[in-house]
Amino acid sequence: MTRRLVTGNQAAGYVLAAAGDANREARGCCAGAYPITPQTEIAEYLSAHTFVKGDYVAVESEHSAMAVCMGASLNGARSFTATSANGLLYMAENVFVAGYCRLPIVMVVSNRTLGPPWNIWVDQGDSLAVRDAAWVQLYCESHQDLVDSILLAFRVAEDKRVLLPALVAQDGFILSHTLMGADLPEQELVDTYLPKLDLAQRLRDDRPVFYGNITSPRDTQWQREEVETSMAQVPHVLREAVDEFESVFGRRPDGAVSAEDTSDAEDVLVVSGSMVKAARAVVRARRAAGGRVGLLKVKLFRPFPRERIAASIGNARRVAVLDRNLSAGSGGIFWGEVAASVRSSGPLVQSYLVGLGGADVTEAVIDGVLSDVRTRTASCDPIFFNGDEA
């Protein structure tokens, strides 16, 4: 491993390219991407990379970026792309097509606020808007987490028990544009970790099938059920991928959910993305001062690891879910999932909306959330929390 000072976008570009090159002895790789802030450097990185057996297609839109990936994947290549915000929504039709075509494409999303109002800073609302597209979704805390999650994503997506595409989200600017140290694995290790892709559904000259043709309601329901069954395999396939990662790279990456100090906690914070770092600092400080607080970092959003979450929350009395996103009319999107995961007689689960549109979520903000939730005996409507409430 080489420790390098990189931006999130550079790290993502490096790992995507290495994953592509790892398939050089099979059918190669092909990426299509279209620039959008804050993803642009990933597209530039991939366009500048000399693939051993691969191509980068400079397409005219995100919609076509995903279409190129689908064509490449249907022809047996490893395929990947990256985008952000409105670009992802422009791509959205094909995001669903790729998901329900079960093509193991990996996409990095540099999270950005969906305009309007026009805003280039981080908000998870873009990738969460395609949460129902039959993609695995992973949310990253740091550059290292991003590197690791992209590699895990290929392993899980291409696993024959799963065969679904995977989206890896990093916070725009906070991760995508900030320099941080990360271990970037050498090509030989990536080669070992990512087996050659042998896609069963690849179109072949000698097999006249029509991939994606018109299907009866009954067969369509059956197909949806198959997708759901495959989604249910993801948590244990991911666990295996984490174990295998450790044996190849000598370092254990975070898996679906990481719990810290939750077993005896009265109050538990549920956090995702780069906010986890500040949340961890707050939880450790409160613990040091004798507070019974815990932290749940949720990396895997789809499929949502309900059982792990419920078990980790344990006997906590209050759960504060921090969301850097908004489902208008509902509240925080992670909150909705967490609330559905715990039994109704369980803890109070409160939605806090923080850092929307890219505002800093500082330790003071998170500390304020913990103080706020301790005062509550019942949950209320989602709280837009800025840190100056206290």
Binding site: L74, D206, I214, T215
Partner: protein
């Protein structure tokens, strides 16, 4: 055709009687001469052609794409083919809704990148699959379900758009000119790079025409000058393949219910045709095909370089 040639379109498909696309698909299959293509098909009648999962009427592997995406999905296919040294023809088989309208940016970008694709548009001049709404390919005066009193605007000139991309080959296909049809498909298959084929495809249910008149309608469209038969190499070498033969435009429109509209003015259509032909003849005379395809075209490099010295 010998009895044991496997057709691209198998029997038992659900296409309408008199569907121009059906005949075009069979002829296209014949021109493939045993090569198996990969078909890339957006939502259009050709998706329905395949029939209901798990069967398919196509005797070749095919992928269904989003409406605007066939040229981009085919790009992915073609790139991976090249990486693996394979030569399967990658064929987009698309309607005019995808080509002229919703997928135009995608087609344009794939053409500009000169992707190694044979792109066929079977043009029935309506959104046939949804029951016959107007498209950019609908001719002036034709009634559709969204232009109930006839379309006021003229048909988009897709061939001119593709020629402006300087693709290695662009040609129109007529179901009334079989030898010309087969030769052009074979020419397209022999070249590399982006190849565009535009086929006028009568749709009896949308055109309100008699199924048995499909081929005759195409003959009249070509003969009256409404659908010029020509081919363009590298966007800069033109060859006209059939000249208007005096067929009457009135005969063409009177055989189709879609032209029984208040807006139809045959004289305006005639003026459109005259203007189109002035431009086409000027191009063919200024930039003729001299000795067939240039050496460059066999490798499909295309682009402006292929036209050097022409002007």
């Amino acid at each position: 055709m010998t009895a044991n040639v496997e057709e691209l379109l198998r029997p038992g498909n659900s296409n309408c009687a008199g569907c121009g696309m059906t005949l075009g698909l069979r002829w296209f299959g014949e021109a493939l001469a045993g090569k198996t293509p990969t078909l890339v098909i957006p939502p259009c009648c050709a998706t329905v052609t395949a029939g209901l999962f798990p069967v398919t009427a196509y005797n070749a592997p095919a992928a269904a794409t989003a409406f605007a995406s066939p040229a981009a999905v085919a790009t992915g296919f073609a790139r991976v083919q090249h990486l693996n040294g394979e030569r399967t023809p990658i064929v987009c088989w698309t309607g005019d809704g995808s080509t002229y309208d919703i997928g135009l940016a995608t087609v344009s970008a794939a053409a500009e990148r000169n992707e190694d694709i044979v792109y066929v548009c079977y043009d029935n001049e309506i959104y046939g699959n949804t029951g016959g709404q107007r498209s950019g390919a609908t001719p002036r005066g034709a009634k559709t379900s969204t232009t109930p009193s006839g379309k006021p605007e003229p048909k988009k000139d897709m061939m001119a758009i593709m020629a402006a991309h300087r693709v290695p080959y662009a040609a129109t296909l007529s179901l009334a000119h079989r030898d010309d049809f087969l030769r052009k498909v074979q020419t397209a298959l022999s070249l590399r790079g982006f190849r565009f084929l535009l086929m006028l495809s009568p749709c009896p249910s949308g055109w309100k025409s008699e199924p048995e008149e499909t081929v005759e309608l195409v003959r009249l469209a070509v003969g009256s000058g409404l659908f010029p038969l020509y081919e363009v190499y590298d966007g800069c070498r033109y060859r006209i393949n059939a000249w208007p033969d005096g067929s009457q435009l009135d005969d063409y429109v009177s055989r189709q219910g879609r032209f029984k509209s208040k807006r139809l003015d045959v004289n305006t259509l005639r003026a459109d045709i005259a203007a189109d032909w002035r431009r086409l003849e000027a191009m063919a005379s200024a930039f003729p095909v001299e000795e067939g395809p240039s050496a460059l075209q066999s490798e499909g490099t295309g682009g402006a370089d292929a036209c050097e010295g022409d002007s």
